[in-house]
Point group: C2
Chain length 236, copies 2
């Protein structure tokens, strides 16, 4: 199984009156790779937030003006250092500044995370299916830090049409022993892979990942499969 990852160019600046699913499908179809049933589209969070109007005006002269928003979007503060806040968001994500982002948005605006990124993913998936009869999976990705390791990576905050976590329990390894390490977060791995062609500075908000194991393409949810309940988390 060879995997191909295509950056999707030509998506215009997004506002809250666009039909995001149709825009994405058209941009994909316009590229030489086209769009095919079985493709996984990784859509970066920023354009989803913009299309859903999850933008808040902030004072552009005050570099800390988004901080009250961070508190509002959080249910639990885990750590503070200087201006950095690591918190659990109302969606259940643990990340810096409640996922609120000021890059790639207009000056004087802050982008919040979508209310329910699994729902956002389903909406895009259904719209593409409804208008073009192509069945794709959708992953909404965002850029998070993590403890212990420097550098950010892209992870999944929502998905539709693909399992977020694939359980290999019961599989055997290549020597016939039952695998102990079994649950792989393929939604995060696909998000990371897509970031390699999207980049932060390139303004490429969508990538197609083609060649994903078809058995993973069933209904899935980041909220239900990936978010670890605080009661089973050793670091909260």
């Amino acid at each position: 199984m060879t995997l191909q990852i295509f950056p999707i160019h030509g998506i215009p600046e997004i506002t809250d009156d666009v039909d995001l699913g149709v825009l994405i499908a058209e941009a994909c179809k316009a590229g030489p790779q086209g769009l095919k049933t079985g493709d996984v589209l990784v859509v970066t969070q920023k354009i989803v937030s913009k299309a859903e109007g999850a933008m808040v005006a902030i004072d552009p002269t005050n570099p800390l003006s988004h901080k009250p928003l961070v508190e509002r979007e959080s249910v639990r503060i885990l750590r503070r250092r200087g201006e950095l806040i690591i918190s659990e968001t109302k969606h259940g994500f643990v990340c810096a500044n409640a996922g609120i982002d000021l890059s790639n948005v207009a000056r004087g605006q802050a982008a919040l995370l979508p209310d329910d990124s699994d729902r956002s993913a389903r909406k895009i998936r259904d719209r593409i299916k409804g208008t073009s009869d192509i069945e794709v999976a959708i992953i909404i990705s965002d850029t998070f830090g993590r403890p212990w390791r420097r550098g950010l990576t892209d992870v999944a905050i929502g998905c539709a049409g693909i399992s977020a976590v694939v359980d290999l329990r019961g599989s055997t390894d290549s020597l016939g022993r039952e695998l102990m390490v079994t649950e792989v977060c393929v939604a995060d791995e696909i998000s990371a892979a897509a970031d390699l062609v999207c980049g932060k500075a390139d303004g490429v908000p969508v990538a197609i990942v083609r060649g994903i194991n078809p058995s993973w393409l069933r209904e899935g949810s980041v909220r239900e499969e990936v978010i670890r309940d605080p009661s089973e988390d050793l670091f909260r």
Copy 2:
């Protein structure tokens, strides 16, 4: 920039008397994709440990017989729950059971992490360059869990010929604003991408990632770029 990821089949069971760089290069060249300068080869930790003889005999009748090894390979225990130990290894990684693995190894054996995975990566890279004049980058990957999110993902434990972390500071976003979020751990993202074709159960220990941004292909080190010093870590 389109990215392609090829699983490499045909690598035999590895023992500590093999010439790993030559074996990998031959298996890559035997596939339809061949091997090209600029390719990034992701090599899973297990075969590196086997080639380096980092295997320890354990009692196959005792499911806890590797636990003393976990303590020996750790410099600091972060959390315990039941049989699970999350520790900082002597290499500086924070992971479960000090990265010691019993899957895909013979019964009665445990695979330790390589002593210095950056050095392991350089050795494979240099051997391929020396025998075939093809300049590739190497990433050694392993499968780690993480707090807050369920499911495992593959991350980099060593690299050569590629920056582990790419600093986009000073870049501007698509609207011309200076990017605040800037350091991306591309070595982890590439490891995650490769795992999508290697899988845990497939016994495919190497993948080629082709199409990586050439500006990332300079000397790099997971140890120096990725491992966060405990003093700057908010969760240790």
